[in-house]
Amino acid sequence: MTDLASAYDLAVIGGGPAGLAAASLAARAGLSTVLFDETPGVGGQIYRGITSTPVTNRAVLGEDYWAGAALAAEATASGALIATGATVWSLDPSLQVGVSIAGRARLIHARRIIVATGSLERPFPIPGWTLPGVMTAGAAQTALKAQGLVPSGRTVMAGSGPLLWLLAAQLLRAGAKVEAILDTAPRLNWLRALAHLPDFALSPYWSKGLALLREVKAKVPVIRASSVEAHGDGQLREVVADGRRQPADLLLLHQGVVPNINLAMAAGVEHRWNERQLCFEPMLDQDFGSSVPGIAVAGDGAGIAGGTAAAERGRLAAIAAVRALKPDAAAPDPQAIRQALQREEMGRAFLDWLYRPPVALRQPVGETLACRCEEVTAGQVRHMARIGCEGPNQMKAFLRCGMGPCQGRLCGLTVTELIAAERETSPAEVGYWRLRPPVKPITLGELASLPIAEAERKAVER
């Protein structure tokens, strides 16, 4: 793409609800704005394929999905440059963004950055989770939204969280057959959740959630399970839950989503441990500004709150950027948006406590893989922690866990929690990887293609 400038007022990274809302607001207020998204179209995970999905029956994905179409249309009309197929692999405190588009790398500068990299699914490290035939529910949902793919064969779903139930409903509406849902949310979670029920009852998710549960439970047996294992020889054959065997061709796993923090962390943004959501999240001010001047983090990357809240957060971060760079430009009143955001966030505590995954499914033992890229077992990580390895960064050196192509995304929380468990301390004390860019792999050829002006060439050859 040849029309990419070398500098912008605002660069938004991620084209989900937060990024789309932020880019539209900023561009309409007159900021030169670019939005990068690595997929072929905008929408993020929640509105994946919103401009191109082959699933035309609106009832299948539901009206909440189609709300994304308005956000996408608004962003397209706003004047922001929407760069899709654009993989951001670096962001640093000088507000320089490294991005690859169509096999060519570029470095661009922005006066403000909004990181809207969303969430990813929490690791679900059970025995057999790397067998062919086992995948995450999110991956199945992406296949449904983007390609209209519906699983055939005997499908079992396992885990907890609102998304599990939503996907079950979407798959059933699309004609899939689900043999069973293994509900792994501990029953005792109710005790912690109950105190937050009144807030949840006031949020828009209450009635929607109940309807969804009813819809799914009418069609699929739901079985409580405290342990789940995938068995098979080179291919999933059966799912074993608390000793009960269930023949299956496909097992979809999901136990909630966590902020995708790799880019913000690599940029030096300070993070903290969230004990309720059991994940790391960036430390942010009320405009979602981070510890690195000029970098804001919006959307679920700022802490899990869902798609509607993500858009509100994107707008608030964009208003802050407009006020800083173009104080005279017209921008919406943040107060109204803050109130709307508060309503969205109100029910979250209830969902977080109710669907909080149990220790046994977060902290595996023995031969179960913790790091699938480098094939490091939970037992190895526990052993190294017991003999003195204090943190994930030392663990990388000894076991190479977290050093494979996923850059630690799939094992980071597992490794931190395992070290904390073995050393009888908290994940907050143990900390997370020191994340090294590129946060997404790039080829040597792409990097070598980085345009270098003659003056710069002299400057770097020191």
């Binding site: 320089q96 470095l107 030392q394 050196a397 860019p437 792999p441 040597l444 070598a448 980085l450 710069e456």
Partner: protein, 373 residues
């Protein structure tokens, strides 16, 4: 009450850990104080090259002493440290470079050093079949190799503790003062007293030297490295260049480590660096031209370690010029990893016996004092 030791070692890089180990092996009781954890900076994240090739004359004796220890590293530290020995090759891209290399090898020969060997194009192709056809020959040091830097530094630390050293991590030395015949260090975990002190504080060593009244022109640098995902094995020796910045090696697990001296911006008080992607792109271009097989390789990580560089690119090793009982061991200028084992052994000998047979003339801190002091 102050903790006491025979020797206080400041800095838990490979040099501090090696000196602590060798002191303990001589029956002395060292306390090593490290502000972060052993191997947190340059010692743990360098390219891992174990190289005698192309060294400054003043450090060749330490390099040779070190190589003897590297070749039996498991006996010394109880871990193989990932050390393998497939040689280092300095590749000549031009006739002028090859002529320079010939002069250097001849000069070393006259001084009695035989570890560097000139190779022609045929031998270069045999050693490094994947190298680009434009290369004319080079120099090989056949006993050189590479090791895992963090594992090595940790192995030295672990063995030092097993042999009686005390290692205190996460603790910073804030002041040094002389009380009678003893040095007293104020630290964030209370005072420590010892008659001898080793300053192995790397990129922070100038602060210790300044307190002792011998300031040094130390430059804080952060050489950058990149690593690729695993590729089928295609090269054994480490390859380095002279005209362009490159060090290049494939590890046993198939990953390729690319370095060579392009630098990130260091922030030593924040333990942080900021990478220079344009410089890394330059590095990628060099690899693109030298090793066509690498063009589709995937870069999975890039990083930089904070370390000290002296203006003449050789370290400061030996007794303080101002302070009885203090020894310096810093400023290794981006090539100190290989020197760790031997320098620690020499330093322990110097401290325990008052002298050493390893020549370290030319590395004294006095060279920065204009002939005074």
């Amino acid at each position: 009450m102050a903790r006491t030791a025979d020797v206080l070692v400041i800095g838990g890089g490979i040099h501090g850990c090696s000196t602590a180990l060798h002191l303990a092996l001589r029956g002395l009781k060292p306390i090593l104080v490290e502000k972060d954890y052993a191997g947190r900076h340059a010692s743990g994240v360098n390219a891992g090259g174990v190289r005698q090739l192309a060294r400054h004359l003043a450090e060749i004796p330490l390099s040779i002493k070190s190589m003897e220890l590297w070749e039996h590293i498991e006996d010394l530290v109880g871990d193989d440290c990932g050390f393998d020995s497939h040689g280092t090759v300095l590749v000549a891209e031009t006739a002028a470079e090859l002529a320079d290399f010939r002069t250097r090898v001849d000069d070393l020969g006259l001084r009695g050093f035989t570890h560097e060997e000139l190779v022609d194009r045929t031998e270069l192709k045999r050693l490094v079949p994947s190298v680009s056809g434009h290369c004319l020959g080079g120099v090989v040091s056949r006993r050189d190799g590479a090791a895992d830097p963090f594992i090595t530094t940790q192995a030295f630390r672990r063995r030092a503790v097993e042999k009686g050293a005390e290692v205190i991590e996460g603790v910073t030395v804030t002041a040094l003062s002389r009380i009678g015949n003893v040095w007293r260090a104020e630290t964030s975990a209370g005072p420590i007293e010892a008659p001898k002190v080793v300053n192995a504080a790397g990129a922070w060593a100038d602060r210790i030297a300044a307190q002792l009244g011998e300031p040094v022109p130390l430059d804080v640098i952060a050489p950058m490295l990149m690593v690729t995902s695993a590729l089928p094995a295609f090269i054994q020796p480490v390859v380095i260049l002279r005209g362009r910045k490159l060090s290049f090696k494939q590890r046993a697990n198939g990953t390729v480590v690319i370095g060579g001296g392009y630098r990130a911006q260091p922030f030593r008080d924040e333990n942080r660096t900021m990478l220079d992607w344009r410089a890394l792109a330059q590095s990628a271009k060099t690899v693109w031209e030298m090793f066509p097989v690498m063009r589709e390789a995937t870069i999975v990580r890039a990083w930089a370690g904070i370390e000290a560089r002296m203006p003449d690119d050789i370290p400061v090793v030996g007794p303080s010029s101002t302070s009885e009982g203090v020894y310096h061991q810093f400023g290794f200028s981006a090539h100190g990893f290989q020197l760790g084992p031997g320098t620690g052994a020499m330093m322990a000998e110097l401290i325990a016996t008052g002298s050493t047979n390893v020549p370290i003339d030319g590395l004294s801190i006095r060279r920065f004092q204009g002939g005074h002091g």
